[in-house]
């Protein structure tokens, strides 16, 4: 089972090998580009994944959710950002967690902030982005994204009627059972 995941890279490797046979120069050029990029990445990756693991083990989600309800105000906003940013994994991994949040009575705009933060301001990703694309690129993107996520969350909350919101909460409770 585990090996099956390596079929895809294997196929790509075979394609590269075929290109190399047809045209030596292109093939070697491709391999040297891939090799140097991989080495560069492998030098940045290990600490990021270790941090990710530590975060996962030491930050208890359950305790924080309690502080995200209707009256949570600014603290709720900040905590939602922190929870989303401390996440790992693709965006669709955030939806089931958001459903649990809603089931536990987290304010709707905070759920949307969490989704927004998860999508684009994840801490491990941010560190990785700095390594790959430079500190300026990563910091600037973060600086634009934080207010953007906030504004979009508030707009989306406003545009979602009360009835629809209740329907979403009911659905979320069902999905997270």
């Amino acid at each position: 089972m585990k090996c099956r995941r390596y079929i895809f890279p294997l196929i790509v490797a075979v394609v590269v090998a075929i290109f190399t046979l047809i045209d030596n120069q292109t093939g070697f050029k491709a391999l040297s580009i891939t090799g140097s990029s991989l080495l560069e990445m492998l030098s940045v990756i290990p600490p990021i994944f270790v941090l990710l693991g530590l975060l996962d083990v030491w930050v208890p989600r359950e305790k924080i959710i309690k502080h995200l309800g209707e009256e949570s105000g600014l603290k709720g906003v900040v905590l939602s950002f922190v929870l989303g940013a401390a996440a790992a994994g693709p965006l669709y991994g955030a939806f089931p967690i958001a459903a649990v949040f809603m089931k536990k009575g987290v304010k709707f705009s905070n759920v949307l902030i969490f989704i927004g933060a998860w999508s684009t301001t994840k801490i491990p990703m941010f560190m990785f982005e700095m390594g790959a694309l430079g500190i300026e690129f990563a910091l600037l993107r973060l600086a634009i994204n934080v207010p953007g996520i906030l504004v979009m969350a508030l707009l989306l909350e406003k545009m979602t009627g009360k009835e629809q919101r209740e329907a979403i909460y009911t659905q979320a409770a069902k999905l997270s059972e």
């Binding site: 891939t34 990445m41 290990p46 270790v50 996962d56 965006l91 990703m125 600037l140 629809q164």
Partner: protein, 159 residues
């Protein structure tokens, strides 16, 4: 420089964690390895693929497709590819760096990264299940529009 700082921070935190709880630290390391191993196949495949792509397309072609002067076509390619594909960030950032070093423009790369992370066309059915059609359409449209704002600002400031 960046690497050294990250390694030191991680080392210190790991040490603190180890002092606080040996068991939890081992668990964290196990999780770290697992999540790394999970992306490894895709990472290798995409790096090989992009390496080949860059070797085949000379920087001139890449810059014509995604460069600073690629105009509407460049923005279209970057935003559509970013919205549709599901590439993990750990793979997307090195890929973006490779393209950037070979002729792609900052605006186009920022647009690609931003749509990739915020807009999910393929995951639309999953999102709809949780948030309903209307909100899912709205969220993705906002994210799509916002990505252009991000890319435009970044292109202006970093150029």
């Amino acid at each position: 420089m960046y690497s050294i700082v990250i390694y030191i921070i991680t080392g210190v935190l790991l040490l603190i964690s180890l002092i606080a709880s040996r068991k939890k630290t081992l668990l964290a390391l196990k999780k770290a390895w697992k999540s790394f191993e999970k992306i490894l196949p895709e990472l290798i495949a995409i790096m090989l693929f992009v390496g080949l792509l860059i070797a085949l397309l000379d920087p001139g072609t890449i810059s014509a497709l995604l460069g600073d002067n690629s105009g509407f076509l460049g923005l279209l390619i970057a935003s559509v590819v970013g919205s549709i594909t599901l590439i993990p960030g750990f793979v997307a950032f090195p890929m973006a760096a490779m393209l950037l070093n070979n002729g792609a423009g900052i605006t186009q790369i920022a647009l690609f990264i931003s749509t990739l992370m915020m807009v999910g066309v393929v995951t639309f059915p999953v999102e709809r299940k949780y948030f309903g059609t209307k909100l899912t359409v709205l969220r993705n449209s906002f994210a799509f529009g916002f990505s252009f704002l991000v890319a435009g600002l970044m292109g202006m400031i970093l150029r």
